[in-house]
Assembly symmetry: C2
Homo-oligomer: 520 residues x 2
Amino acid sequence: MDTKQFKEAAQSALEEITQYYDTLAERPTLPSISPGYLKPLLPTSAPEKGEAWETIQADIDRVIMPGLTHWQSPKYMAFFPCNSSYPAMLGEMYSSAFNAAAFNWICSPAVTELETIVMDWVAKLLNLPECYLSDGEGGGIIQGTASEVIVTAVVAARERLIRRRLADMPEGEEKIDKAAELRGKLVAMGSEHAHSSTQKAAMIAGTRFRKVPAPKETGFSVTGQALRQTIEECKAKGLEPFYFTATLGSTATCAVDDLAGIAEVAREYPDVWIHVDAAYAGSALVCPEYQHLCPPMADFDSFNFNMHKWLLVNFDCSAFYIKKRKNLIDTYSLTPSYLRNEYAEKGLVTDYHNWQIPLGRRFRSLKVWFVLRSYGVEGLRAFIRNHIKLGEYFHGLVKSRSDLFTVVTGPHFALTTFSVNPRRLGGAAAANKPDPSHEAYLNDFTPSADAQYQEDANQITKEVYEKVNAQGEFFLTSTVVCGIYVIRVVSANIRAEDKYLKQVFDVLVQMTDEVLGAKA
Amino acid sequence: MDTKQFKEAAQSALEEITQYYDTLAERPTLPSISPGYLKPLLPTSAPEKGEAWETIQADIDRVIMPGLTHWQSPKYMAFFPCNSSYPAMLGEMYSSAFNAAAFNWICSPAVTELETIVMDWVAKLLNLPECYLSDGEGGGIIQGTASEVIVTAVVAARERLIRRRLADMPEGEEKIDKAAELRGKLVAMGSEHAHSSTQKAAMIAGTRFRKVPAPKETGFSVTGQALRQTIEECKAKGLEPFYFTATLGSTATCAVDDLAGIAEVAREYPDVWIHVDAAYAGSALVCPEYQHLCPPMADFDSFNFNMHKWLLVNFDCSAFYIKKRKNLIDTYSLTPSYLRNEYAEKGLVTDYHNWQIPLGRRFRSLKVWFVLRSYGVEGLRAFIRNHIKLGEYFHGLVKSRSDLFTVVTGPHFALTTFSVNPRRLGGAAAANKPDPSHEAYLNDFTPSADAQYQEDANQITKEVYEKVNAQGEFFLTSTVVCGIYVIRVVSANIRAEDKYLKQVFDVLVQMTDEVLGAKA
């Protein structure tokens, strides 16, 4: 493919892509194909001779489109959004043109330096404590995903503890044995509602894992006291707690752990590395009205949020901030001679591969730069506030049918979770005098509550949820929190509008009527 | 940015990118800026109001271009190539448009299914043993980098060993204690010339690491016997070797470990997971003349190569093959309720997040698919063979000046390494009767050899190397193998031509003349 052919091909691809974007709302969000759909549509091996672009491009519509889940559709309300934006797509175009495995400064200085600069811009935009800026001892790095970041933090936390404990031992076999013994005692911790990636990270790091309770009474949030208690329980067993993921916006319900209370614990136990996972909700910190959440982070060790979720930077782009970059470099730097260069030796430059697990790095800061500049601070705040408002709108809709639905959490950061009432409540009764078993369901999840009622509610909520997704028009997700099966609705992508929330709500009401009707 | 503005912006970006590609050879490969160049050129925070694309785009030329190292230039001959191609760039365009954190099948079935299919195409293209195809117990997955793959393999190997050893113990605290104790005894191994990522992976996994000797006498390759001896030495100390990276094309010299000999060891020690790292050289396996390297892999556990290095798929794209996918899933699957879906539960689909460390996944198979189809098998073979021929050409040039240079290794997979002779040898003497100390330098690195000669050679080679890079026209790398400082030249990117190799050779001769002249 020569330059001329590429320009024509790219032109044609741009037409197809923009046409796709402009017609997203007309497509069912979920594909209707079955597992294994693609194999019969493609050859069993690569072609011997090269094919023309027209032939290849035609297959996108023929075989790929039918198998896509349309995350950019306004009818996508599942998991969390994964926003695409045109400026970020331009960033990806340039990044792919300037293709390089830019693992250190000299490999492409602009890749490193732009990243440091835009990560500082983002830290200021979020009003993060100053310790996370690059001009002190901290700084930001772009990694792929929150799960990758958490592994990076857990391993660094593990090694920091070992360096501290064994600081006085001379290097050698005895120290290696001692370190191995110590690693076997370590415990990573996360909220019972933290994303599973903390538990997975503990497994990867070869450490133990403990869940910290976060019951409904505290709004599914970990309190400082709950964390302190878990730490003490571990210590009582001769184990060493060394890491905790504090959650700012849990996956299930967007709960926020008690960061101020946890900051006290951080001061009491300086060997416990506190990482804040704000994968989705962190983007809301661009709005001053959420920045009261930031000051406690000065007592923590690291923070991350995924700009690819709610801040218009295409996947992947997880912004990871570290208070003392030394804690990453002491763990991850292992520079052999063929990766050394005079600039790094002199300490003049940042070699980001020493802040992360993989060696090679993409030029991801370009897309961040383009998005920040295209939208401006005002544009990004307006973007987030629009979704917050849409979340309140949907929450209002659910509340308006308390005969059918019970709000369980939210709206938090545009996410509402709710369950379906197993018995239709009378209009007045629903608003004013709920059924006692319904009341118990909402407020009390002890065995003394009406367990049968709860089981019925879970069953019926699941049925309604599955019917909505089976229809395919909208895509929702569900989860179970403290024994309650809930449907999650979060509409926070670039094409979100109240009319789509009204549509999905009508579908939910219809499906609920059908399910309840069938039971009656 | 609306659709119309995006199309105009993208059009303008395409013009700039193609113009950049078409003028690469005219630019110095290395930038001439100093560390910290970018900060004074940019504001200290994101703009309040959004900016127009023209303003943003103008800054690419103003501030980014001066800080780029041009990996796509034909004058880039450092590290290994990181090839970009137009079809792969189109793949990235669509991937960024279909933006999704496609971590499981239902998140976007086409992402999973196309990946399985193209990874099978690639396995067949390389003639990998059938156990690596998806229709048996194995399969391929695209990960980001070889270093990420190696961490994935090391952790899976560690957990496999623990599962095997503790299979009879009931679940519970005692088993967790026992597993922790066992982890502390584990040893990962790699060639002394293996990429540092194996040692880093062992650190991440919290295990010990041992280098396996690979001296000059065996061409810097690990033999089966050397591996066996290292295993036995570990066992004699009460340690448990559990993992070995076999190298197919080492970073320093493109040495290939003795795969057939290592396969025997694999059969003797089934608890040692053997992973083949063919990050760069693996691409050559598309040519039948290299496929004799493949059969021993049937005795190994996993294999990977970076299609982003030498097979025209833009960074990042590391193809990772596993003989028994169960060994990944048993380690990495930790599926909580909110990530479950009926298809995965029924075992009908592949959920690739259970084969890897991060959760989210990009749609990387599109670019692989486009490259395989645009080039065809014939085109890819021609691409590799052209570089092999260029490598031989450069090797011939170096040999032709044996008065100045000594070839240390190669050409292996288009890579030649050589050192500069510290004393200019007479024409005839060079060809026929080398200086005895020179002879010793080539064949004998024991202390009995002329240590001073070697030290001089290292010093002068380093000086020549630094002068070439300081000029900035070409970018080379150097390394030290078994005490020998060598310059590496590998010209294997899409724009490589013999004329650029002749040019760099002339520069090397000129710089050597200057350095030797200054010493005389």
